[in-house]
Symmetry: C2
Subunit: 269 residues, 2 copies
């Protein structure tokens, strides 16, 4: 079975019913799994070379997940073999004053990929619904309105040649605790600690439920959501890497046709 | 001698007096040179990890050179081991209508790196002086005015924590001919051919002279120019990689100090 089928979000299935420690793609042999991730990463790099030359379609990858779910690690491991010329990472933080003075898609639209470009969103427009919804700053009606706007927005992107892939990195609350504790214990990782991350744990279940709604309301064949069991980092990388490779393969990428006239051109001295 | 000393632009020395086929850093053993480039690239990746964590200073790398001088190849080989999260490549093309309606630094300023970020400019604000100067669209007075504006702009960037490195990839006219011919002969590279590149060869000497002026007028210790003999790709990569590694070493990068309080924090269940 293709990874894209296996991890595709399905109907109203709840995140809490999915085991975050599931690791069907991992062999348990860490070295072997890491080698396999490296091969997937290199394959993505090869496809990207053609994708860049083709200069026609766009690829947008959205990474979402709770703190410590491994968004940064995914970028490093799965997308680390790409030519820096053709990939652009955008980390969306708490909106600035100016950003808040616009609709929530304003800052997102500015960063979508152009032809031949792959953009990776490290958090995204989904944060601007999830966070205010969890904290009661917007109600059901506004939340639904925003998801309808997201559906229209992503539909427009797809119609204009963007291949969208949306990943929810699913970790358990216990795994997050372990990862936060590891950060607190390592002085070189203190810069990554945000005391707010600890406080947000109390909203864990609310976030999970809001993610269910986000995924349910915005999953579409042209903008699919994948729920990736991510307690195992190797499995997370294998699953995401496989889905990206499958998707790029299906894009039937090809170098633009040669220009016959060029074969006869003489370069002047 | 440090590579940064060896290749630093000096006073009024002319590009045409420098041998583009010079390759003092290459050993002639291609495999060994490529391994060395890979090690430099990995070292840049290691430094970048700390630079990103430090989240204080900025790095701006400017790549300039004639067509086929190897700007794309440099990005792939020298900066290919960076975490995509911390590097951003910007290719400046022919200015758009809207860009031309602003001063020439407007589109540049929008793309300068933020704290902890490394930006690589594939062509840059220098194009907006070189090209119009070579084609007689601006005269000496306007050219000098723009270089004064660039000096002020780069000085401001440096004062605000930006480490600038500017590389001129120096190839010979004969080497360009070889590279253009190779592109024309390879159907998978036809997408890279711009017939205009061939026509521009007639202005070769004018470009070299204009580069002399650009370098002479804007070289500064806070924004140094390096003239890299680039007929040999391995040498080009070795020289640029070495200068970047030397520069990052001198930045005395360090992880932010640990927060002692964090060692006592308990993560809530």
């Amino acid at each position: 079975m293709k990874a894209a089928e296996r991890f595709r979000a399905r109907g109203t299935q709840k995140i809490r019913d999915k085991d975050a420690s599931d690791a069907p793609l991992a062999t348990g042999d860490k070295e072997r799994d890491e080698r396999q991730v490296m091969e997937l990463a290199k394959k993505i790099g090869e496809y990207q070379d053609i994708f860049y030359a083709e200069h026609r379609r766009k690829i947008l990858i959205v990474l979402q997940g709770m703190d410590t779910s491994g968004k940064d690690g995914t970028i490093r491991k799965v997308f680390g073999e790409l030519d820096p010329l053709g990939v652009r990472c955008v980390s969306f933080k708490v909106p600035t004053t100016v950003e808040r003075e616009h609709d929530f898609l304003w800052r997102i639209h500015k960063e979508v990929p152009g032809q031949g470009e792959m953009a990776i969103f490290n958090r995204s427009h989904y944060e601007d619904v999830l966070v205010p919804a969890v904290h009661g700053l917007i109600g059901d009606k506004e939340r639904k309105r925003r998801y309808a706007q997201i559906r229209d927005f992503e539909h427009m992107l797809a119609e204009n040649g963007t291949v969208l892939l949306k990943f929810f990195l699913h970790i358990s609350k216990a795994e997050q605790k372990k990862r936060l504790e590891a950060r607190l214990a390592n002085p070189d990782k203190h810069w990554k600690v945000d005391p707010n991350d600890l406080a947000e744990r109390q909203y864990w279940n609310d976030y999970q439920q809001m993610y269910d709604k986000a995924i349910h309301e915005t999953d579409a064949d042209h903008a699919p959501w994948y729920v990736i069991p991510a307690d195992s980092k190797d499995h997370r990388n294998l699953a995401i890497g496989s889905i990206v490779v499958e998707t790029m393969k299906e894009m039937k990428l090809a170098y633009p046709p040669p220009n016959e006239a060029y074969f006869k051109v003489k370069v002047p001295d």
